[in-house]
Point group: C2
């Protein structure tokens, strides 16, 4: 059954993949209108026990289509199990033949999300980045730091989380892995010292105030992917010289952009897609003093690109 | 990877499963309103190259949810590949954990469809069945004969297909497997001689005329599962003393019932669900002289029941 791969096989294969390049190609195809992505399928279990999302789609003219199944069961940690699980299925576009099953346990979603964050920061950050601030101290915070360290090898990291102990543990773990990091006492301090800020929490009220953010800062907002979640004050998006997102269609309804649109802080015409900046169809940062924001909510083409890249690396 | 099973492992496990009982429990749960079945997900490839359907759902209070992925690629036979492929994924309702992947290549869908047909005939046929007629001479015709032979061990079979050679081959194959069968010259002859008629073709115009069907006949209509396909004259449904179907919601839009409703030949109030007959909530056949019809379009709870039964047999 060579077509089935578990995380222990996927992880080493992933190490050889240029994930930022994969995400870049994916976002460009998406913004060029080359993707077919039907509505997300959703299965809700009884008594809010859990929920399952089925995301699927393909790039026209490509080799594969992907079907990703991801679940979240909030009661799992009490049973010693991870909250989330996931797998990806890759099929050939010409015959429907199953090319690969990736039992990635959701790790590929975490990785593609972090790589997209680092790509957004690489694309929109000011020329000089000395310090990068991460809000959140969980799995996604660690992965964002890892991928940002690849883009900004000389930068130091500051980590802030609601739980000071967890922030310290996260910073220590990163430092131990060769990524210089320390924990921040509060978000204000972090904001005033960092030229790139990455938000990875599940907050439902703004954590990052516009007043704290210095000129010449880029914010990559990753945590909010629903209509309710919010990490960034809408006034920061209003103030920003450039607001980008992964998918205009999706960000009308979800994420920081949707919050700012609903609040009337920005208009849709002010928002550009990251894929359009990457392809040169839209302008990105205009000067080193600008404030920029990129809102990422996650699109199926990211799953397709990472699954295809892993599949090729395994072959 | 004990959680992954291929058809070579599934087929022997299936042999020990009482599929008609599984289908009966499934239809009863469905008709009692105990099932959660979101809309079918659909992915259409470019240039009508192929289509993919994602069916998923669960029975409230049950152990698993199922996600079935089935594809049809019309150009595959020219490449020496089967048109259809499929797999089923079974997850635990309490944790979302993947319980089993069944790489069944679509065989489980064929089997559950045939078992449902035999169950419908067992439930609605007249007391004495000497001959069973099958319209169609393909995979589903063979499987319907196999499952009907289990229910009606003393019956003879007649097979009719558009291609006389294929009909003869199908009848010979069945006879060779210990199921007495001969091919029929035409549908009228078959209809006049059989007390149970099972339709398994992809016809888009009626094959079975009401006038040919004798009193005391039951028809199980399996082939039509879209708004366009039709195998049975709508006047037969109008004439029938009892019309049943697997899912009223689905049969409003698809299958023989939808044809008869659109033609004004029957009204929705005259149609009952097979699950309701099985549970005793609705009446079935009233006398040995009645004409009855059961229209099957396929529901996700059948996939769930067969996948759970195979999973248990493999464990």
């Amino acid at each position: 059954m060579s077509r089935v791969a578990t995380w222990s096989e996927i992880e080493p294969a992933l190490a050889g993949v240029d994930l930022l390049e994969e995400m870049s190609l994916g976002f460009q195809a998406y913004s060029a209108g080359d993707c077919v992505v039907p509505p997300v399928g959703e299965l809700l279990l009884e008594e809010s026990r859990g929920e399952v999302h089925i995301k699927y789609g393909y790039v026209r003219g490509g080799e594969h289509y992907v079907i990703k199944i991801a679940s979240g069961f909030p009661g799992n940690p009490a049973l010693g199990l991870p909250v989330g699980d996931g797998l990806m299925l890759l099929f050939r576009q010409d015959t429907g033949a199953l090319a690969r099953v990736l039992f990635d346990e959701g790790h590929l979603t975490d990785e593609r999300t972090a790589a997209a964050g680092a790509l957004a920061s690489r694309t929109m950050a000011p020329p000089t980045v000395e310090r990068i601030g991460i809000l959140g101290a969980g799995v996604q915070a660690r992965l964002q730091a890892k991928h940002h360290a690849g883009v900004f090898p000389d930068a130091e990291f500051m980590v802030w989380g609601r739980d000071a102990e967890k922030s310290a543990a996260c910073a220590a773990e990163l430092s131990g892995a060769g990524i210089p990091a320390r924990s921040a006492e509060d978000v204000e301090r972090l904001s005033r010292e960092c030229q790139v800020i990455v938000t990875t929490t599940a907050a439902k009220e703004s954590l990052l105030a516009s007043d704290w953010v210095q000129p010449g800062t880029h914010v990559t907002a990753v945590g909010s992917d629903t209509p309710e979640k919010q990490e960034v004050e809408v006034t920061l998006l209003a103030r920003a010289d450039k607001v980008a997102c992964d998918s205009l269609e999706q960000c009308r309804l979800r994420g920081e952009v949707s919050q700012a649109l609903r609040a009337g802080a920005i208009s849709e015409e002010e928002v550009v897609e990251l894929g359009a900046i990457l392809s040169g169809d839209a302008a990105g940062r205009g000067s080193s003093e600008e404030v920029t924001v990129c809102d990422l909510t996650g699109v199926a083409v990211q799953d397709l690109r990472i699954a295809e890249a892993v599949n090729a690396a395994l072959a």
